[in-house]
């Protein structure tokens, strides 16, 4: 992957506070150690994310906080990818199709060592590689440019298809929003994935039941979602999307023994676990006040 170097601003110009880089879970870690590591990392990512959104005055904090546990579990534990192996053709691929949660991805990438943490201070600033939606021309670890909903899953089907053609065991993980699933392109891609039995593909649905302006069920309902995905030929698993242990197990089961692509319906809450944001549609892209940041940080300490 090539990065447009000329777009990278002087990161030293923007003061940022330190972010702890967690790195991956240890290979010999016990289950308790793994979940504790992921829980601690997710808390750090949320802390950093809310401060970034506050500083930029822009972001999609609701959908960021609903997806962070999924991102952290993938990058710090489940996926076979490392910062020094981004050109390895057999690396696992990740695509954030709900690109509006970019701040959560950037923060997770920094926490996992894929981005210099000081670069987070340039989020949304003129010429920064960290704009409102992830771009593969600007950040090496970003596999697909997203933002318009309904692009990531077809691209993921393509990366999984390429892996199959190469006889590679590499896996592709893609996270889609539940509102995003209203886009027909997803169902076209799911049909392709099911018919071609792309077993190394894992579609994670961030099932927070809200979209931009209302509940998904009050807009254009998806249910029965699990039945629909199964009917398209996917192996469907439903988990609590904030339970790191459950996510670890779901991702470890890819590829499924059935030889079908996997769909993980991750039941989440927008704004989780902040009391005044959780399940509240108003927080799709609201920017917290100084006081709300303080309250959220305090709640995170006790979460």
């Amino acid at each position: 992957m090539t990065v447009e170097e000329d777009l990278v601003p002087d990161v030293g110009a923007v003061p940022v506070e330190a972010l702890r880089v967690f790195g991956r879970t240890a290979p010999d870690a016990t289950r308790e150690e793994i979940t504790a590591h992921l829980r601690e990392a997710a808390r750090a990512v949320r802390r950093r994310d809310i401060k970034m959104v506050r500083a930029a005055g822009l972001g999609h904090i609701g959908g960021e906080f609903s997806v962070i546990d999924i991102l952290v579990t993938l990058y710090l534990h489940a996926m076979n990818v490392a910062p020094d192996r981004l050109d390895d053709p057999d690396r696992d691929r990740f695509i954030l199709s709900k690109g509006h949660a970019a701040a959560a991805l950037y923060t997770t990438l920094a926490t996992a060592g894929f981005l210099p943490p000081e670069q987070l201070g340039t989020f949304m600033q003129p010429l920064s590689p960290l704009n409102g939606h992830p771009a593969r021309t600007k950040i090496e670890a970003v596999e697909a440019s997203t933002g318009p909903l309904g692009h990531g899953l077809p691209i993921a089907v393509g990366t999984a298809f390429a892996g199959k053609l190469d006889g590679s065991g590499r896996r592709t993980f893609v996270v889609v929003g539940d509102g995003e699933l209203q886009e027909g392109s997803n169902w076209e891609a799911l049909m392709t994935a099911g018919n071609h039995r792309l077993e190394h593909l894992c579609v994670v649905v961030d099932r927070n039941r809200l979209q931009q302006g209302a509940k998904v069920s009050d807009t254009n309902d998806l249910e029965p979602l699990a039945d629909k995905l199964a009917a398209f030929g996917l192996e469907v698993v439903e988990v609590d999307g904030h339970d790191h242990g459950a996510l670890v197990d779901a991702f470890a089961a890819v590829p499924a023994a059935s030889g079908r692509p996997t769909a993980v319906i991750a039941h989440t809450h927008k704004g989780h676990p902040i009391s005044f944001m959780s399940d509240n549609v108003a927080w799709h892209h609201k920017v917290p006040s100084e006081g709300q940041v303080d309250q959220a940080l305090a709640e995170l300490e006790n979460s």
């Binding site: 010429l127 704009n131 939606h133 933002g147 979209q211 209302a214």
Partner: protein, 315 residues
């Protein structure tokens, strides 16, 4: 600072929704069709008054425009209201076939076009819409410059028996048209007389063209300012006059220069060849930045326009 730069700025979505609600009160055929875009289109007042006449298909733009065409077939007058980037890029074939080729009376309202979404990046910018859409036969393209023009264009589109695309921006703009202004589809508006050069601008950046004319006046250059609220069909008469009565034309738009600029150039090249300069977004994806930062970055401001005019005149 010119008077325009210090005057009140308006979000044209307010004028759009106020007009649409008023029209809908008197015309039961009017419906709104959206893609989870009630908030971003500021359509809450419409939704409150006419909950049954607001059709939210969810995040599904191709469906949205196709459904609107079907509603038009059923005698409704649909106002499709969605972020311009997704409405045009995602549903282009539906716009071409279901709206234009089918000659349906439907109004496509492209919200927050140009670079209004600033830092959200090129995926959310709609700078291609004018170039893309003007390639479609029979589609009227309107780019209002201020709230009054927005309201009048919406009113006109509600009774025009054909497909119309209207850009409605969230970026704050001052009122630029005279008090007794009347929008006429396909007609340019002379906002300032001048003999040395003509600045032909559209939409959100018309006020910047007026500011540029002030800068040029200070240098002894007399600039005519033409506002082009309709990109298609073009006001060829006004362009003909501008090309023959001045030394050249500068086009100004919050879009790729193949939008208004391309349309004007095609007309002039065939009928009255004249020197031109193009102010707009060049052939590249924008870097990260706010809309005001990006407009300055690309020289789509008073200084950039004045510079282009001086360059054309060789002064």
């Amino acid at each position: 600072m010119t008077t325009l730069a210090t005057s009140t700025l308006h979000d044209c979505r307010d004028a759009y929704v106020a007009e649409l609600v008023q029209l809908a009160e008197n015309d039961e055929r009017i419906v709104a069709v959206v893609n989870d875009s009630v908030g971003s289109s500021k359509l809450a007042p419409f939704q409150e008054k006419f909950p049954d006449r607001l059709i939210n298909v969810g995040i599904a733009e191709q469906d949205m425009v196709g459904v609107a065409a079907g509603l038009a077939n059923g005698g409704k007058v649909p106002f499709v209201s969605a972020a311009s980037c997704f409405l045009t890029a995602r549903a282009m074939e539906q716009i071409k076939v279901d709206a234009a080729y089918s000659r349906h009376h439907m109004v496509l309202v492209g919200q927050s076009p140009g670079m209004a979404y600033g830092e959200l990046g090129p995926t959310h910018h709609s700078i291609e819409d004018l170039a893309w859409l003007r390639a479609i036969p029979g589609l009227t393209i309107v780019v209002p410059a201020d709230p009054e023009e927005t309201a009048q264009a919406i009113r006109w589109a509600a009774q025009h028996d054909g497909p119309v695309f209207i850009r409605v921006s969230r970026m704050g703009v001052p009122a630029v048209n005279p008090n007794d202004y009347e929008f006429v589809a396909g007609k340019a508006v002379t906002l300032r007389e001048g003999q040395d050069i003509a600045v032909v601008a559209t939409g959100t950046v018309v006020s910047r063209a007026l500011e540029a004319a002030e800068l040029l006046a200070a240098r002894g250059i007399s600039a005519r300012v033409l506002s082009m609220p309709t990109i298609k069909p073009l006001d060829e008469q006004a362009l003909h006059a501008a090309a023959t009565q001045t030394k050249g034309i500068v086009t100004v738009e919050e879009a790729l220069t193949s939008g208004l600029g391309g349309a004007v150039a095609e007309y002039l090249a065939q009928h009255v060849p004249a020197p031109m300069r193009f102010v707009g977004v060049p052939d590249q994806f924008a870097p990260t930045g706010s809309v005001s930062w990006l407009l300055d970055h690309f020289g789509i401001n008073a200084e950039g326009i004045a510079h282009a005019a001086a360059d054309l005149l060789g002064v």
